[in-house]
Symmetry: C2
Subunit: 376 residues, 2 copies
């Protein structure tokens, strides 16, 4: 056995009503002039208005976070933030507003383009204290509420992660009530994202028993809760279950993810398509798990046993069935991805930070073969 490193993460306040502690959490964090960050869907859904009722008036607001956050939008929010003298950020939303808030917290306190801070370029060492961020997730999937990273599409077109303990939210207010209005399609796509975090963290070759225990619990919990949350959007227990799976999957990030995310991130950066990260994961996961099986037989069998899958049914089979039942895509073709995009996607996947922790070595040929299978 070799030397392993791990640590756990930020404070979480969990449960119906957790959002109502926002005012006291702002005070506790010393934030007096918050920048409120969210997206247009949440404005339309009335959640932004609801949040304004739970906090002192924000010093500034940026309510146009793109579905896949871009460096250009970060620059706009940064300018707002500096102009208003904001001393912290409140992010309401799914993974995009949360990641976006982290990137603004970084760029408001650090010089130069975001690409300088990309994890893959050793950027973590250049990240010092940032503006404090308080997050209120409105989806259950991203895990970003307990994560140190943020995925941003740069001006260069690359979708890269920036990551540092300084980007951890100071507190995550995980209120399942905020997810009650999430439509079935987004509930399914974000929920499968959470499952994919649990599965990929479990399969990562890094040694971390506490994370293994957490993500195994998360996968079991999500397997039961996700179909319920999709079928009955008002089931607060199912919503709370999925919100916990999101956290458990997010606690798994420190083991590293794998090929599902390595293939999925460049898909999210495809110009024009604006593909949803969770749907991409759902579409690629069965093929990736079949590809990984020779290198991860025992680990996959443990998951199949934990979920009590019928004999002869692999996790890949079961996830295909789940996609079909939840209305999620089973191929990239049906999402509009075409063969001519594969060379560019392959370059992105090869450079992705999740690739090294895939349980089976994943080179250019393997990536191209997987994409080819998925667009056929």
């Amino acid at each position: 056995m070799t030397v392993s490193q791990f640590h756990f993460l930020n404070r979480v306040v969990f449960g119906p009503g957790a959002a109502e502690t926002l005012g006291e959490e702002l005070t506790a964090a010393g934030i007096r002039r918050p920048l409120l960050v969210s997206d247009e869907g949440l404005v339309a859904a009335g959640l932004v208005a609801r949040l304004r009722g739970l906090m002192p008036a924000p010093a500034a607001e940026f309510l146009a976070v793109p579905a896949n956050p871009t460096e250009a939008a970060v620059a706009q929010a940064r300018a707002l933030c500096l102009e208003a003298g904001c001393d912290g950020i409140v992010a309401l939303g799914g993974g995009s507003p949360i990641d976006f808030a982290k990137a603004v917290a970084l760029s408001a306190t650090h010089p130069g383009p975001l690409g300088d801070y990309a994890a893959i370029r050793g950027g973590a060492a250049r990240i010092g204290p940032c503006l404090p961020v308080i997050v209120l997730p409105t989806t259950a999937g991203t895990g970003s509420e307990v994560g140190r990273g943020a995925l941003i599409t740069l001006e260069t077109g690359e979708k890269l992660v920036i990551a540092s303990p300084h980007l951890l939210p100071v507190v995550a207010l995980c209120d399942p009530g905020l997810t009650l209005g999430l439509p079935p399609g987004l509930t399914a796509a974000t929920g499968v994202d959470a499952l994919s975090h649990c599965i990929e963290a479990w399969l990562s070759p890094r040694w971390n028993p506490p994370v293994d225990a957490i993500v195994l619990d998360g996968l079991r919990r999500g397997w039961a809760a996700l179909p319920r949350a999709v079928a009955a959007p008002d089931d607060i227990d199912a919503r709370a279950g999925m919100m916990m799976v999101s956290i458990e999957g997010g606690l798994g990030f420190q083991k590293g993810l794998g090929a599902v995310h390595a293939l999925s991130h460049p898909l999210g950066a495809l110009p024009g398509l604006s593909l949803h990260h969770g749907s991409c994961n759902a579409a690629v996961m069965p093929a990736v798990l079949r590809f990984n099986r020779p290198a991860a037989q025992a680990r996959l069998e443990a998951l199949e046993e934990a979920l009590a899958l019928p004999a002869g049914t692999t996790l890949a089979d079961a996830l295909e069935g789940l996609n079909a039942r939840l209305g999620l895509p089973c191929s990239l073709r049906e999402m509009g991805v075409r063969a001519e995009m594969i060379p560019g996607l392959t370059v992105g996947a090869l450079a992705d930070h999740s690739r090294p922790t895939n349980p089976r070595p994943l080179g250019e040929a393997e990536i191209t073969a997987l994409y080819t299978e998925l667009v056929a």
Copy 2:
């Protein structure tokens, strides 16, 4: 369901050779003038000398940490620390040197007696940044390496916990090689301490699924590893297993412990006897679990199932058998505790910070009855 709070903890470097990273960890933590803290047993075992070879010369050393750390010893080490201008602490040892180092880190940076900072008196709010502490556990049990708390026997005779995120070690170097020399008796007693953290955290009524998953894994892991580590002290895999159980139990502290620890802490403070914390836990645990059963039937059955205990064997039965096999006490009588001590012990247990999270209400009458049974 109600609102729950949780967070996880500090960085861990785990595995054979982890101790060898001490030099670089001191640099990373900005510690240039460390105070080295340990105990006489570890000096005699040669571990202190070995540690000196892994770090720049300490600015000061305090190598006389008592088995149950006292406020008086903390005051001596604090004086040494301030006189030598130390800017951080390295703790080598079991729970006592680690807790001791935390208390010195606090008292070197905060005025007044330690009792002012006791958790039970709302002291956490008065604890700000302390000297950074790097810990190297030489036993596998305490969990203090990943914990925010320290148990100190005050001048008043009370054994109280001080706790704050500021007392978390900046990094725990968990090197199972450091535990190879631990004799079977101490291996057993400290190991059952780790098991007791897993069991009591699991039984705590606070809702925290990630901790539940971790401590369940810890109990299973320890149930297999502890008899091996006691029987074959050089079995590095068994030692690593127990070191992980110690961490997993320590990550459980945030759920709170219960009656085992509420009864055990005052025993450790008995003047003259100097009882080992792990042995106390071993002795009281079967009786406590039988007492708790009516309030925790399902939770106990889940543990019995996880350990695949034979039908009709309770966890309490199995722990009695384990005590017998490992040479641990099964009663307080054989440890020298007498009936006339019970009134004083009961006062301590009633005031203990672990009492409120016992799954069954635990008042004066119940505490007295349990002690009485155990000294009979």
